[in-house]
Subunit: 488 residues, 2 copies
């Protein structure tokens, strides 16, 4: 019954692979590792038909036999299925994470006690702020009976939660009313709804380079086309944005202005003003993902929210409780004009109807303790950020680690273009880390790793020490480059 | 910033409208009412560009002035926006439900005490089984602290919930293991995930005619094409399924085999066997939505679950707690092969990551009381079904009401093709009801209304009496037709 549902042609696969996969030795092993990484990162979806051996060998300039052996390897590891006349297509193996496979599936179950302490640096998420969540849940349950006489469907969200989100946004400097808020199941869900309403197939969506992998995956799933604009070491290049908007007429632009994922950069007030205005003039809807906006650890105060710049309605703001409270609470939001919120609510009713009442009540209660909730996240992240920085300085002194003043991770720069190989080698030892190319549309960022500082310090230290031991020694003539300028 | 994102061409709009919208008197009023109904039902999405006045008047054979006046009316009511050079596109008005507009948006907030008692027959949903949900929530909160040390992401669902779903499916006659279960946010979400994994743009999806409107909306959103196969008065026509599968080679087929929405029909064991086998042979994945499978009120025992027919893996089963427990619990599931579940979990991580931990724990607790939960639904539905039947017999004796032995609604047959007009007239008086064409891909079923029996008996009686008063008198020569055979 399994069968391909989409296809990646040889030139597209070659572009996704970039050149980072090539390494001395048997090409089939390197190619299989690289394709496996694309599947595990979600850059290639399950049920995607792969090119014929002949087409891929021609495209990559390696022997057909090498491609054939790479495909055999992927089949053995459970990442490839084939049927006579239907070609071969990608899938996911039953047990991943073992020695034979590169990685476990993206999101291990939260119920698995082992996964909590495993060296999984692929997820940037903290345990819950306990007992704040437990207490909020008790209060939510006490309120629940008031809602049981209704049918339980809340397309735009419980009014109390919409009001609480609006109040918090207003407090942060983005004046908002409850009818400008749609409650969603987190920021990823919010982005998918915005794409579903606004971006038709083939339309262009401006993204940062690098960008969060699931942002790129959502754009692909909407069959829209991501158009990357590079982030400089100091941040957003408003001129490059204007040029790209002129050239590509993107329908949407998606960015993370506060503690950008993965770089940790924050957009200056001047860039906010220019970029919001440029987008508004061109009719490009600017979508800002504020997932990390509450996670300032130190450094300068944040500029006003990006949504407060530009003409009214020019910016759509997405937010979530996942990082500022806990990932197990699936409450996010979209802030847009009241009209757009109505349109999104109607669309949402065809996607998944509405959010659960109890989880929304829990979110309302968490907002009542919001300062304490966020403070607990910040203090934990601050100590872990410092611990990871210390471990990196000790075990990997040739890696460049730009300082960050907020968010959840470092965007580490390696001495050489080794990220995919390093991640594959680490995965074989049960250490999961996301290599730079997962954050790109074209296989770039082979010199980068995203290292979240969300695990306990002893785990972070063990992970870094193992990674550093696996990293290739700096090559001759490839001395450590001057550090890029500090973020923010 | 609002702008069209898709387009409905004049022939497609004419097909959606069918002929049911035409009525004596001013054509512009009738056309505006009918277009409004398409938007409110979700058959036309917000941000869809409408045809030019010239093109639509030619297609419908009415004057251009009439189309122009209809568009003016829609603009006044807040359903249409226009901009020079960009044409006109549909939207949703700020306040709906008043005298000037046809209806409120699809899902009013569950927090609004008024909406609970309003005469809204557009939603087939009950209040929660209290105190069972309240008690289950208390137990869920007691268990929650055990999960707070994890990151809270559960891509395939909490293991305890996957196991509980598998156990219940097994009890019902569909042997299932936990790794064959993906937890979703309800059945609509489940269907969207299955479509996202399996149905590419332009691919065909076989559906029943009539079918649940949000099933059709999900297929449209996936840019796949619904191919309807008529349901007869006695149910599924296995021969017509085989012919359609041969002619259209659909990638998927979606059906509701137990207490079908809207007809209340149940598929016989013989039809299950034939249809599952036919689909499997053709490589058409059969998706069965079991939303109402637990809601048998009386009559013959149900055949074994459709998923237990055909070769292993041939059928994907979708289920939900929304109707058998409460709509405010957003827990559903997909039962498929373990491989397909892994692929769906990876897709889900790009859609909305995972379901909330607390809501999943609530669902686990509800399964512990499952017999009591379902019994409370059944007894409430049984008395309300009987009450609605009695009200219909009293106030609308010329309407045909096929008996149903389960589910949530009657598929009422009117003496004439008046459903759209009747629904529009009722909406102007604040009574919401979904006309037959919302359940079709081509504007058919103008003789049908879906009437859920989920409101309290006094509300059902008031609604039916008002509807009957608004219905046109039976026309000369259009006597009441012989009742169709009884369902099941």
């Amino acid at each position: 019954m399994s069968r391909a549902n989409r296809e990646v042609l040889a030139p597209a696969l070659a572009a996704l692979l970039g050149d980072g996969w090539r390494r001395p030795g048997e090409a089939s092993h390197a190619l299989a590792d690289a394709v496996r990484a694309l599947v595990v990162d979600g850059r290639l979806a399950a049920r995607t038909r792969v090119p014929s051996e002949r087409a891929l060998s021609a495209e990559l300039g390696i022997s057909r036999g090498a491609v054939s052996r790479a495909y055999d390897r992927l089949r053995e590891d459970g990442f490839l299925l084939s049927a006579r006349g239907a070609g071969s297509w990608l899938t996911l193996p039953a047990s991943a994470g073992g020695a034979a496979t590169a990685r476990v599936p993206p999101l291990p179950s939260g119920d698995d006690a082992d996964s909590i302490r495993s060296l999984d640096l692929s997820i940037a998420a903290l345990p819950a702020p306990d007992p704040l969540v437990a207490h909020a849940a008790e209060r939510a349950v006490a309120v629940l009976p008031r809602h049981l006489a209704g049918h339980g469907y809340t397309a735009a969200g419980l009014p109390a939660l919409r009001a609480a989100v609006a109040a918090r946004l207003t407090e942060r400097g983005l004046a908002t009313t409850a009818d400008e808020v749609l409650v969603t199941s987190g920021a990823q869900h919010a982005l998918n709804l915005v794409l579903g309403l606004l971006a038709g197939p083939g339309e262009r969506v401006l993204v940062d380079a690098p960008a969060y992998p699931r942002t790129l995956a959502a754009i692909r799933a909407a069959r829209a086309r991501a158009v990357p604009v590079p982030l400089g070491a100091r941040g957003w290049d408003a001129g490059a944005w204007a040029d790209t908007i002129r050239a590509a007429s993107p329908r949407l632009a998606v960015t993370v202005a506060d503690f950008h994922n993965p770089t940790g950069l924050t957009m200056s007030a001047a860039a906010r003003e220019t970029i919001a205005t440029t987008c508004a003039r061109a009719g490009t809807v600017l979508v800002v993902d504020e997932t990390c906006a509450e996670l300032r650890l130190d450094g300068p105060a944040l500029p006003p929210p990006l949504g407060s710049f530009g003409p009214p309605g020019a910016v759509i703001t997405i937010g979530t409780m996942s990082k500022s409270a806990w990932g197990g609470v699936r409450v996010g939001w979209i802030r847009a004009t009241a009209r757009t919120v109505r349109e999104l609510a109607a669309l949402r009713a065809t996607v998944d109807m509405s959010s659960p009442v109890l989880d929304q009540l829990l979110a309302v209660e968490l907002f009542k303790d919001w300062d304490a909730v966020v403070a607990s996240r910040r203090s934990l992240l601050k100590s872990r950020r410092n611990a990871l920085a210390a471990s990196l300085a000790e075990h990997a002194p040739t890696w460049h680690v730009p300082r960050v003043h907020g968010g959840l991770s470092f965007w580490v720069r390696l001495p050489g273009p080794d990220a995919t190989r390093l991640a594959a080698a680490a995965a074989r030892e049960g250490l999961l880390v996301v290599p730079g190319p997962a954050f790109s549309v074209d296989g770039t960022f082979e010199r980068h790793l995203r290292l979240p500082f969300t695990l306990p310090p002893e785990d972070l230290d063990a992970a870094v020490s193992r990674l550093a031991a696996l990293a290739p020694a700096s090559e001759e003539g490839q001395a450590f480059e001057a550090p890029v300028a500090e973020a923010v």
